[in-house]
Structures are given as structure tokens and as C-alpha cells.
Amino acid sequence: MATHAPARDPLAGTGAAGVRRESREWLWSLLAGVAILAAIALVPLSGDDAALSLWTLIVMFCVLAQGWNFIGGYAGYAAFGNVVFFGIGAEAVALTLLNGGPFWLGLLLGTLAAGLFAFLLGLPVLRLRGHYFAIATLGIAEALGELVAAKAIGGPGGEVSLTPPDLDFHIANTLFFYGFLALSLLTLLGTAWLARSRFGVALVAIRENEEAAEALGIPTFWYKVGAFVLSALPTALAGGLYAYWFLSLQPTGEGGVFDVGYSVSMVLMTFLGGAGTIVGPLIGGIIIEYLVQTTTVAFGDIHGQLLGALIILVTIFLPQGLIRLVRELTVSPAGVKLSYTRRFTEGVRRVQRFIASNGI
């Protein structure tokens, strides 16, 4: 009974294959992400300033979505106030520069402050679940924005104008572009590490069933706090870069560094691409921010309505994101060898079934 019976169980082999397939998926995701970022890295070669600033903005939003993915995608906590970390990062850089400090110090201080704020904020709000957590984080972000506006660190209402870096305009913009790109790459690597770590597995368990995770001995509360802090770090760095790139800041109102619109974008982008996946937020960020920017140019005021329609379509047909579609398309049944064409047609059929089963 206790002795080993090797290869007697016909399923033992497929189990191992399953494990290997799983580990290949993270690698493929990571490679896809790196390839996407490498392609974007070619944008400055075009010498087109408009394209450069468009893609700087797109990559910045990718970073925000990637950061949100830690708490919202992996841990499954619908944080609606992550813009607060962006605002803290931006205001820290602004304050440091206004006081004659170096840019890197502002970035560092902003990141530390945002991480600490996420920790302290997490202690009370991560005891809340579902809607209560979403509302609490939303409220905190709004409140901090108003507070910064009231304390008015720059001009009236907290408006700040910064002196541009002592560099050629084009060179400076290229550097900021690569700064955001490096940040996105770093966050991508961080996500790939997380997805494979015990910490990441525990976060997924929390998302899937928090009570069960607790009963299995996962220290759920501290892991959630960890995910919240982790999501604050890239977000604050993006805020800091944004401040010195954009040069003029306001805390509240549309486009303000505490504007809830950023939080909504992070959520939407992550869900379109695939929440809790390695490369999903990157893909979602690129698609949505590209559409936002181009539809604003092409359609002016109605771009909001077009985006609204997109949100509705995504929630109805792709509640699990684009990555899930790719997964349905590429996965082959365990242990069965199929030709590539057969696998493709099978995949397309699975995708049709998947969309139909999620449809109205």
C-alpha cells in the first residue's frame, strides 16, 4: 500500500505536463510583455514629438494599471483610490524641486511616503471587504486631494509650475519616455516574480476565498497590506516622473494628480487586459489609453461616450479580460497531441463558446 507504484497511474504523466504548461505560461507572458515594451522603445526613433508624448502617456497609464493589478488583480481588492499614491509621488517631487532639492530625492521621498501611506491606510481599510473597501479607498483619495488643495503648496488651489530640467526639450522628453518605459519593465518583472512566488499564490487564494485562505494558515491580513504597499510603489514613481515631465500640476479637478479618473482608468485597463495576469494590464493600458487619446482628437467631446460603450462591451463579453481569450485559444487538452491547424480551429471554437457563455 505504502510502496511506490511508478507509472501505474496513467494520469501521473499529465499532471507533470500540467505543471510544466503552467510554468511556461508565465514565461510566455513575460516574454510577450518584454516584446511589447521593446517595440514601444522604438517610438523615439521616429523623431515625431507628438507620437513621443502620446506614448509617454500610454506607458505611464500602463504602469498605473500594472501597479493596481497587485491589489486589485491578484488580491482581488477593488481599490478605487490608488490615484492617491500617484498624487503623493507627484506632490513630493514638486515640493522637493520647489525647495531646491534634486529630482531623484523627490522621487525617493515620494515613493517612501506612498509606501508608508499605503501601509498605514491598509491597517484600517483592509479589514473592510467588497464595496466598503472600495468606498473607503475612494473617500481617502478625494479627501487627501482636497487637503493638498487647501494647504496650497504652490499657488492658489495647490497649483504648481515647475522649472523644466536644464536639458534640450527633445532630449528631456526622450529621457522621460524611457524613464516610464523602464518603470513599466520593472513592474512587469515584479509581477512575473509575484505570480510565481508563495506570496502571489497566497494573494490569489485570498482573492478566490479569503476565509478558506485563512483556514489554511495564510496570514491574509498582512499579505493584503503587502499587496497594497506593492501597488503603491510603481504608482508613486509614475506620479513623480509625471510631475517633472508635465511641469504644471494641480491636486484636484479633472487632470489633477488626485483625480479619481486615474483610479477608474487603472481598474478598466486591468480588467480589459486581464486582472491578475502578468501582461494583461500592459495590454489593457495600451489599448484604452491609445483609444482615449486618438478618439479625443478625432471625435472631441463624444470620446467619453465611446469609452463608456467600450466599458459596457468589455463587462458583458470579456469579464475576464483579453488574456483569458488568448488562453482559451492556445491551451490544448492535457495529454492530447493535435496538429497546429486543428489546435487553432479547436481554439476558435472554444473562444466562441467562451464568449457565448459570458454573453447576454
Binding site: 499529465t14 499532471g15 494558515g217
Partner: protein, 258 residues
């Protein structure tokens, strides 16, 4: 077979392993918020023993399990496990000591595959060696072959019986010394209950696993238990061997409709 835990502990080296209480709950009070649910609860599970805790819906069975596994804080009383006081120990450390709780309603990770659910059961065993994990997985698959068939399937898509198997298999992955199963039979067909109980019995007999079986189905639980406790309105009202309780007229009247 000395029923007194104190004397068993004093004579520790010579006391037979069987007699030592693996789990000892004494004078336990607890509840939620202002509402007290348990009053002065005492209960014991010895090494290698199957103990049943039976009682009606709302009697406090699940609360007692939650208190033992550290998910609900104790207001008064003491809980000892494997000679250690765990009254105020966190759930994580309790799991590490080998006291595993299979919660009511199975509580699986619905979006994860069966195999991923099982692996998460071994979470507190600090990664360890992948071979040990693979061996334990194979052991669970041998005991519950249905899980092997379903290993790549999302746990949320399993039938009720398969979900219960998955929950218990996940509990076994932690290499428990004591497995506490809340409402094993709830909503399951009798033949599935038999399959699961046979698997548990296998580990109980071969590896000396102690089991605390919490059941609304008094017959199922007491038939298999060495000893049993009856809980009513948050208090233990009677105790005895499984057979004694099954014969008892009060138990038959209250729970078996006689």
C-alpha cells in the same frame, strides 16, 4: 486508558501515547460581537481517535471549530493542542502545528484547478521539497481517485461530492495530526458520503490521524466515532462512546425522530 489529562501529563514519559489528549478544550466561552454562542464547553480528542460532535443547526458546532482553529477568539477557557496552549495562538501557527479545519460549505478556491487547491493545502509547510509535495499529492489521488481525474478542472465546476473530496484532500495535504471536518455529509448522496468516509478511515487506521467529525447527521457520525459529544444551545449536554450515545433514548428522541 486514563481519561484524566492532568495525570496523563504528570506521568508523561510512561503514559501510553493513546491516552494523551491531542486536543483538550476546557471551560470555553466565545461568540460574535456581544452575542455569546458557547458556554463552558469542554471537549477532548485523543491521539488516533475519531470523535463526533453532534447537534442541531445553530447549536454552536461551527463556532466551536472556528474557536479551536483560531478564527474566532476565545472569551474564556483554554484550548490545548499537542501539549501546547493555543487559546490565543493565531490561525497560521495552529495550522502549522497540524490542526487542520475543513470548513463547512467546502470553501474551495473556485477559479483554481483542483491540483492548485490541493497544493494550497500544503501552504504552511514552507515550500519544503517538491518531491514531498508530489508524494503527498499522489497519496491524496490514490485515496480519492476522482480528484485525479479532475486535477486540471476548476474546483468551482465540480459536483458537490467532488468539492467535498477536494476540501478534505486539501486538508490532508497539510499532513494533519487532527482533521476537523465541519458537516461532511451536508447535501451529499449517501454513497458519496461513504466513499469520503472510507478514505478518511484509511488514513485514520494507517497513519493514526485523529478526526473530529462535526455532523448534523447524528447516525453517520456516531456510527463511526469512538466517542461523541452532544451540543445544545452552546453547551455540551452529554458525552459517551459513539455506541452509547446512539443507544441513548434522549439522543434518539431529539435527533433520530424516535
Amino acid at each position: 486508558m486514563n481519561p484524566s489529562t492532568t495525570s496523563a501529563r504528570e506521568g508523561a514519559p510512561s503514559a501510553p501515547e493513546q491516552a494523551a489528549a491531542l486536543l483538550a478544550v476546557a471551560g470555553l466561552d466565545t461568540g460574535y460581537g456581544d452575542t455569546q454562542v458557547l458556554w463552558d464547553v469542554g471537549l477532548e480528542v485523543r491521539r488516533g481517535e475519531v470523535v463526533a460532535l453532534v447537534g442541531a443547526n445553530g447549536a454552536g458546532k461551527s463556532t466551536l471549530l472556528a474557536a479551536i482553529s483560531g478564527l474566532v477568539p476565545a472569551w474564556a477557557g483554554a484550548i490545548r493542542f499537542a501539549e501546547r496552549d493555543i487559546t490565543h495562538t493565531g490561525a497560521e501557527r495552529i495550522v502549522k502545528q497540524g490542526l487542520i479545519h475543513v470548513p463547512q460549505g467546502r470553501r474551495l478556491f473556485p477559479g483554481l484547478a483542483v491540483e492548485e487547491n490541493l497544493k494550497l493545502g500544503a501552504y504552511t509547510r514552507r515550500a519544503g521539497s517538491p518531491t514531498a509535495l508530489a508524494t503527498d499529492l499522489e497519496r491524496v489521488y490514490t485515496l480519492l481517485p476522482k480528484l485525479a481525474e479532475r486535477r486540471a478542472q476548476a474546483a468551482g465546476s465540480l459536483s458537490g461530492g467532488e468539492q467535498q473530496m477536494c476540501a478534505i484532500g486539501r486538508g490532508l495535504m497539510a499532513r494533519p495530526a487532527l482533521l476537523m471536518i465541519d458537516e461532511l455529509s451536508l447535501g451529499l448522496a449517501p454513497n458519496i458520503v461513504d466513499t469520503i468516509l472510507a478514505a478518511i478511515d484509511e488514513i485514520h487506521r494507517h497513519e493514526g490521524l485523529a478526526v473530529l467529525l462535526v455532523e448534523q447527521d447524528v447516525q453517520i457520525a456516531l456510527e463511526r466515532a469512538d466517542r461523541g459529544y452532544v451540543i445544545e444551545n452552546g453547551r455540551i449536554v452529554s458525552t459517551g462512546t459513539g455506541a452509547e450515545l446512539l443507544r441513548s433514548t434522549t439522543v434518539r428522541a431529539a435527533y433520530l425522530g424516535e
